[in-house]
Symmetry: C2
Subunit: 277 residues, 2 copies
């Protein structure tokens, strides 16, 4: 039995998986890429030895990152996805009939190609005519984007080349490309393991966006599990699903939408750094 | 650097921790017991090589297992705790001024003694005059218990000697010892990793209790992380905190109380086994 030992740089728990088979192992210009097979999780995509996607549980992360802002926006037509080369976010966005255009901006083309081949149920939307793929740094792309209803960042951990997607400059450029009711969302690491990163990202978003919020979802394969999503917008309103719920999902629904936000009491203590843990 | 590799029998992810120091290593009549020190988690209690408690995050599990039923009950006076030899649940129950008596039923006295010594901030309530410690099988104790307002089971995983706390016979005896507004709660494993166990436990509870419910909380150190809590009662009402919120907590509050329940849509699909993941 091969065993895969994950090297997640910030995690105090190291994850080990049994691997039935290594389906792909290679190196792109940006990172090591590996696809392995596990009996429980199915196929798993690893970038620089960190689990990004598993067939079994990818829907938790992809649904929760996508549908909160998409359902909170009254009529999302033009969406930018940065990262998410596996295509999971694109697949979820395409469920919304209002969508006319997705700018799918991924820095590493190899991730898209490998996902097309090994994760067809995840990458199934990337060649949809509404999707325009741009192979470039999302932080560069966003500088000239305009009239965007939602910007969704699906990045790796906040290290290496992904760091440019968490700067004040990036957030400012995102704000400037958004329509009046537009919304930005990005994962901001785990509340269990990276509480200070979560707080820092909320503070940085508040320097730029008039309306900032935080929601969570448990993701078993991401170390720390209690995963956070930071939202920035010009106007409040992300806490409610405002459109009819017409999409098929496994986890997300309008009740989970309202339930996933960090409660005011807990959030207040968190942001005042009164919570010791 | 010593490394500790957790052997959780049901988990498809194995957890590894760096260990600064092994503070205690021994064997009771029932299990291997170990106390180790980790830089992030502080002291960790391991039973049969499975993490039960860490100083850093024990409050997530202890608060969520205790306060939902304690705040949903109008006036909890007499409480039974089964398991939880570390004392964390007892500590949380004692925060409620209405409590007159806790029957603290732990099968393995060694766990209580080791927790008194190595986890004083967790075990701080076990010698309170309101607490009566019984060293015996909780499934036996419950057969003759009477007039109990809350039964809280804080067991190890549903294997080995803990299995007797998840049978229909045990649930029936719990029901028979409860007062009219009494409530039972027990962890029922992870919704991520042990979905079928969660469903089976909900079904079994429904065979016995007129009112059954399910809530969750993310617990990073328990593999699968999206931890479930099954509730059984004679009457519905667990979803609301009915008394003034007068206790000090880090995580739990009445809003989190309402938020932590599995939404009807998701629960319905889960129980009909329509959710494939």
């Amino acid at each position: 039995m091969i065993r895969f030992h994950e090297k997640e740089p910030f995690s105090p728990i190291e994850h080990t998986y049994e691997v039935e088979d290594i389906l792909y192992k290679g190196k792109s210009r940006f990172q090591d890429i590996m696809v392995v097979e596990n009996l429980f999780f199915g196929r798993m995509l690893l970038l620089d030895n960190i689990v990004q996607v598993t067939e079994r549980d990818e829907f938790f992360y992809h649904e929760m990152l996508t549908h909160v802002v998409m359902q909170a926006h009254p009529d999302p037509k033009r969406v930018v996805v940065i990262g998410g080369g596996d295509g999971g976010i694109v697949r979820e966005i395409l469920k919304h009939k209002s969508v006319e255009k997705i700018h799918f901006v991924e820095i590493d083309e190899a991730v898209i190609n490998i996902s097309r081949k090994f994760f067809p149920t995840v990458a199934c939307g990337v060649d949809d005519p509404r999707v325009e793929i741009k192979i470039m740094d999302g932080a560069e792309f966003i500088k000239t984007a305009k009239n965007i209803d939602a910007v969704i960042v699906d990045s790796t951990d906040i290290i290496g080349f992904a760091r440019s997607l968490f700067t004040k400059e990036f957030f400012t450029n995102v704000r400037n490309c958004l329509t009046d009711r537009g919304m930005f969302v990005s994962h901001t690491e785990s509340l269990h393991f990276h509480k200070d990163v979560v707080v820092e990202m909320q503070e940085r978003l508040k320097e730029v966006f008039p309306a900032v919020d935080l929601y969570t979802s448990a993701i078993a394969t991401y170390p720390g599990s209690w995963w956070t999503f930071g939202v920035g917008a010009l106007k409040p309103g992300v806490r409610k699903s405002v459109r009819p719920f017409e999409i098929e999902t496994k986890l997300y629904d309008p009740e989970i939408h309202e339930q996933c936000f960090v409660t005011p009491g807990f959030y207040g203590k968190l942001m005042k750094r009164e919570l010791k843990w």
